[in-house]
Structure formats: C-alpha cells, structure tokens
Amino acid sequence: MTLWRRIGARVSGLRVRLVLAFALLGVTTTVAVASGSYFQARTVILQQAQDAAVMSLTEQLTKIYPIAQLPPTQDDLELLAQRLSDRESFAVVVYRDLRAQGGSEAADPLTPELRQKVRDGRIAWQRVSLAGEPALLIGTQLALDRPDGTSRPSGVEVYSVRNLVPEQQSIDRLATRAWLTGGLSLVLAVLLALLSARGVLRPVRDLGRAARRLGEGDLTTRLRVRGADELADVARTFNDTAGTLERQVGELRRLESDARRFVADVSHELRTPLAAMTAVTDVLDEEAEHLPGDAGRAARLVSQETQNLTHLVNDLIEISRFDSGTARLALDDVDVAAAVTATLRIRGWLDRVRTELPPGVVARLDPRRLDVIVANLVGNAFRHGAEPVSVRLGADPDWVTVEVADRGPGLDPEVLPHVFDRLYKADTARTRSEGSGLGLAISWENARLHRHGERRGSLVAGNGAHGGAVFTLRLPRDTADTGGAR
C-alpha cells in the first residue's frame, strides 16, 4: 500500500512530469520533422523513378519508328515486347485482340482504368502492387505523324511494367533512419529533461530537507541561496523565516529560564530565614502548651505553616534542579519489594496498605527517588482517594512496574490530563491543601529521569476497572546513568 503510494507520488512527481513533457515535445518535433521530410523524400524518389522510367520508355519507343505495317502480326508484337523488356522491366504490347508479353510469365498486370486512359490517347502511369511487390505501370499508344503535323493513334498500346523494389528499399532505409533519429532525439530529450529536472529539483529537495530539519527543532537550519531566480527567492524567504523563528524561540527560552532561575534563586534565598524560623517554631511548639488560649493556637498555626513553607521551598528547589538539568541519579541495585516495604513502614502505612510484592525483583535504580515516588502516590491515595489502597509490583525482563490503586471516586476525565501539572488543584474550591501541589510533578520528573537507551521511565494516571484512581509507575530495569538529560 505504502509502496504503491510512493510509486504514485514518484510518477506524478515533478521529475517524471518534466521528463514526460520534454519527451513529448521531442517526440512531437521529431515526428513532425522526420515524417515531413520522409514523405517529401518519398515523393521525390518515386517521382524521379517514374519520370526516368517514362523517359526511358519514350526513348526506346522512338527507335521503333517508322512503322511500316498495320495491323501488326502476333510475331511483330512479340518482337516489340521482347525489345522493350529488360532486367528491370517487362513490356506488354496490345493491339485490339492481340496481346504479347515479354520477359515475364506474370498474370495480366494492367488495370482497366490505366488502359482506358491510354486508349484515350495519353501517356499514363500508375503504381500498383504486383504479387506483394510495388510496381510501376506505364502505358502509351504508338501514334503516327500526319504530314500536316498532327498525329493519329495507331491502336498499338505499349505498357511497361517496372519493378519498384529498389525504390521501396531506399524509402525503407529513409524510414529506418527517421525512426533512428526519432529514438535518438527521444533519448536526448529525456537526458536533457533529467538534467534540467535536477537543476530545478535540487533546490526544492534542499528546501524540503531544511524545512523538515526546522520542523524537528533545529532552528539554526539555513539554506544556501544560489542564483537569483524564484527558487532563490524562496530560499531567502525560508532563511528569513527561520531566523525570525530562532530569535523568537530563543527569546522565549531565555524568558522561561529567567523565570525558573528566579524561582530557584528565591527558593534558595528563602532557605536561610526558614531554617531560622524552624528553629524558632521548635521552641514555640514546646512553649505552646503553656501558652493560654489564642496565643497557643497562634503559635501552633505559625509552626504548622512554617513546616508547610519548608516543604514547599524544598519541593521548589527539587523542581528547579530538574528544570536546570542538574538532577542526578544515585543508582544502586535495589530489591524493589524491600524498598517499597521500607517506604511504607517508615511512614507507618504498612498495616493500611494491601501489598502484592513478589520478592526477588532486583532493578538498577535510584532508591531515594523510588521512595519519593511511592510515598507521594500512596500519600495521595490516602489523602484524595479512599481505602483500601493497594500497591502491586510487577516485572518483566525490561521493566519494573509499580501500581498504586485506591477505591475512591477516581479521577475526573477533565482533570486527568493535568494531574502532573505543577501546582494544579483538582478541586478549585479547596484552595489550601496539605500538599505543596508539586508532589505528582516531582514524581513524574523522577520517573522520567530513569532511562536506558530508548526506554524511559514513565508515570501514568488512570482509573481502575472497579473505580478509583490507578497510578502506574514504569521504570527500566537497568537504568543507565545518563546524567540530568531531559
């Protein structure tokens, strides 16, 4: 199917069309010229042959005179026919009912219309086909001079039958030559067409290639402008467009990286005062129990919000590491089931989560990041979904899969595409939540950081067959350390 389409595209392509047009032009011109000259040459050859034959017959006939006896005897006619026959032609002599044919045993070649014209008193000739071969019939009466200068037909009709095979052969040679010329000119036309198609198509091909490269993201692509024709104009326009695009995209990238660096800088700047504040809130926490009423509540609130702020700033710093490409994997051969169990135990969730963790699945990955991902997914399941929450581990030779499912209401289809967006709040009414809003984004980045060749870790959100959200983490089993490449 694709092959056919490609062949179709090739056939209707510019090159083929050019070649066809050239070939058609060449053939038409050649046919016109060659056939014109062929027909003219044929006419000339035949006319010359005919004139020469008529001339030669007339010359021979003048030697017959004077005529001494009429009517001639059969012997006279035979003699005359013999005298007029030679290698190239034979003669037929007719007088009333008498008929003599010299040199050939062929059947009567004379046509009635020729005999009629001859009897009417003219020299006449006609080309006919005798036994498949072309022949020329020439006929005349012998006339007698009268003393007053007029002449009177004697009734003796002389016909000469001349073979035209030599003429046919030279005409055939002409035809062969015409065909040959036509063929050569066709070849020449095709060659010229290919040459000119190359000239036209190369810039077009270059343009196509450059456009594809540009589309693939190489904004530095430029074309070499050759000549001053329309194609050069197109190339120039392409270069201008690519230049503008590169500038604008560069500007956007610069703005974006500025914004990210700003966030990263701000986060870093916030760390020091936060550390001080945390120290203060620790003291406050201890004192809060002794503080009466509102003061105690305020102290606890400040302590809580300070903790949240610390989380947020840490998450922001983490995210900015991903953005700047400085995030590094600390790879280790990890027993995944043990690692997941440890994550759950540390957070005290082991009793609340149904686990399905076949032992012995060892994968090469970053255990800290796996911990972050699993903790985030399970924490989300408790926070937004409903129990029971289950964690299932699967493995095949290439991949490790961790599936975290809950039995809550599941994810709204409208929310689904934005689940991994930064600071995205599914419930707009609930503007404040315990999370920073960056957890899933960080998990997603962590999953993608694991890669091996073409295989790249992924985190996918969906809904289970029995309701409830299902997050599936898939990591390559033998991640290679490729640094922070995004």
Binding site: A32, L46, V54, T58, L61, R122, D145, D148, S151, R152
Partner: protein, 167 residues
Amino acid sequence: MTGRRTGRALLAGGLLLTLLTAGCGVRPSAVIIGRPPISGRAQGTWLYLLAQGELVLVLRPAPTDPSPAAALALLAAGPQENERDQGFTSDVPAGLGPVTVTEGTGQSGDLTVRTDAAAHVLSAHAVDQIICTAVAAAAQVSAANTATTVTVVGPDGARGPRACPMR
C-alpha cells in the same frame, strides 16, 4: 480539467498515430496522366478498313504510287489475308475503281472522287472509308488535312462533301 487534458492527450496521440500509419513504403496510386503519346513516322499507304463496325487505320507497306487514286484502288481490292484473319472487312465494293481524284481550288484543297460505281448504293461506312483514305493519301502529296472535305461523285449523283470522321 482532467477531461480536457485527456482529450488533448487523445488528440495528440491520434495525430501521431495518423502520421505514423499514413503509410510507409510505396503505396499504390491512382492513374497519373502525362503528356500525349509519342508519335513517329509511318511508312506506307494509309487505308481505312472496318473492324467490328468501326473505321480502323491500316498501313500497307512501301507504296510505289503515293497518289490518292492508287490508295483507293488498294482499298477497292479489299483486306489482305492477314487483315482478314484479324477480322478486318471492307464495305467498299471491288467495282469501285478506277477512280479519278481531283483537287479543288479551296484553301484546304477539297477533293472530288469520281467513280464509275453508283455512289448512292455505297454504304455510309464505305463512303467514310473512301473519304478518309483519299484524304490520308492526298495529305502525303498535297496540303490536305483533317479539315479537307471529299465529295464522292458517281454516275448517279454525288455523296458529300464530307470530312473524314476520324480526326
């Protein structure tokens, strides 16, 4: 658009095909007519006999006497054997001669043939034979031509004057 293109392609193809098949080699032709036939001298006496009811020219070799009277005498003698074999006849009676041929004074040299035979019993063919033979013979010796008229005069009257019907 496509239809028009197809039409144009068909037209071009047809033209090409017509040119290609318009004939290679030597084709039969219609009859081509040239100049009048060649003509040459005739040696002998011109007589007009009949064949299948038509006047036919006959040449008798080597005349000793080229006069019209001598030619008419040969005519009265009838066809020779070889001529009879080919179906030549004569309506001129053997009793025609002797005749005298006199040339008129007119510009075309009109002739008068006097005979002892009855002129009115001669058939139309016989009269034509006499006239044409007389004119042809006279042409050898005088200025007679195809326009020359001949009057055949017998004891019972005259036939003509007429010109030879065979030009």
